[in-house]
Symmetry: C2
Subunit: 186 residues, 2 copies
Amino acid sequence: MSRNAREAILAAARQMAQAHGYGGLNFRDLASAVGIKAASIYYHFENKADLGAAVAQRYWEDTAAELDELLEQSPDPRAALVRYPWIFRRSLENENRLCLGSFMSAEYDDLPDTVKTQVQAFADVNVAWLGKVLTEAGLGDAASREDRARAIFAAIAGAQLLARSRADIGLFDTLVESYRTTGLLP
Amino acid sequence: MSRNAREAILAAARQMAQAHGYGGLNFRDLASAVGIKAASIYYHFENKADLGAAVAQRYWEDTAAELDELLEQSPDPRAALVRYPWIFRRSLENENRLCLGSFMSAEYDDLPDTVKTQVQAFADVNVAWLGKVLTEAGLGDAASREDRARAIFAAIAGAQLLARSRADIGLFDTLVESYRTTGLLP
DNA sequence: AGTTACCTACCAATTGTTAGATAGTCCTTG
DNA sequence: CAAGGACTATCTAACAATTGGTAGGTAACT
């Protein structure tokens, strides 16, 4: 049952971290969400930094998988780009949660180095995917494509942040629509 | 000396909150930064929620003043819009700090209501200013102007967040430049 | 004498972490 | 096949540090 418990801890920790951040993640609440005791978490993770790094790593791995899936379902790169914001919309749908990468970017100063690395990997995954799909869509010149990928990622993250502060998913949709109108998004 | 102490607390608390968030703001470190004892803070603020609300309120008031000043120095609305991101750049220059509104938006779930209100006021101040200047610049149609103002605000906040996670001000500049290239910013 | 602005000393709750016990499972060995 | 030992996964109990907050004192100024 160890494998299951570890997975359950990772899943619950992700939910908690997306709502309260790395700083707001605590072992007692996490354990009770999983149905075990706080000390038992140490059987699966060395310490909080180790848990945080594992959660952040799993987060970008899951996101990478979702992005690949999205591209399979929408092979047309333009259509895939249109659906990209949906990844972030889902967090808001999930009880107004924030992208873990965004929350941890805010907490940057207080993050263990191992966690910082995984947070950056999350951004890299998004930018790489966007860059690839922009290329396939023939959008923008090759020189500025990665810059544009980063711009899209940052803008969507910002939209999610603003929408969260109002607990208003409609605001997220409006912002994304504005990005389309102004030309940032196709 | 009370007025000075209160101001010193507000200033130091703002710096701490922009680096560690509301949750990471603690009375002992704050007091030591000001040069007093933790208990003395309670002479000036009822409790942490009260302090947090005061800090957030002062933050948007200061920002509103800075924006007005910016418009005085650059009466041409287009020029003022070009300089707008500078407000956010300054936080990064200040030891890679984040906009307080962004940090607290991330912490939304754990914020006292009085603090939430001030965080939303900060966004309102920015959007109102952007909307006004966009109008003066004759950019966009009247119907979508507020949407565009919100989009600019969210995108700049997102750029600052991403740049912070890399401790890279140059990245912020590149992102802003991309927003210009793609047409979000003039 | 009263008010201002600060202090020391403490409390209770929270939190990351550790030590050591325990019940069940699995593998080896007589 | 039964017995014993090792391993797995969890527990109870506690510790030390941190934190928001309170009680009550004190020196200076009005």
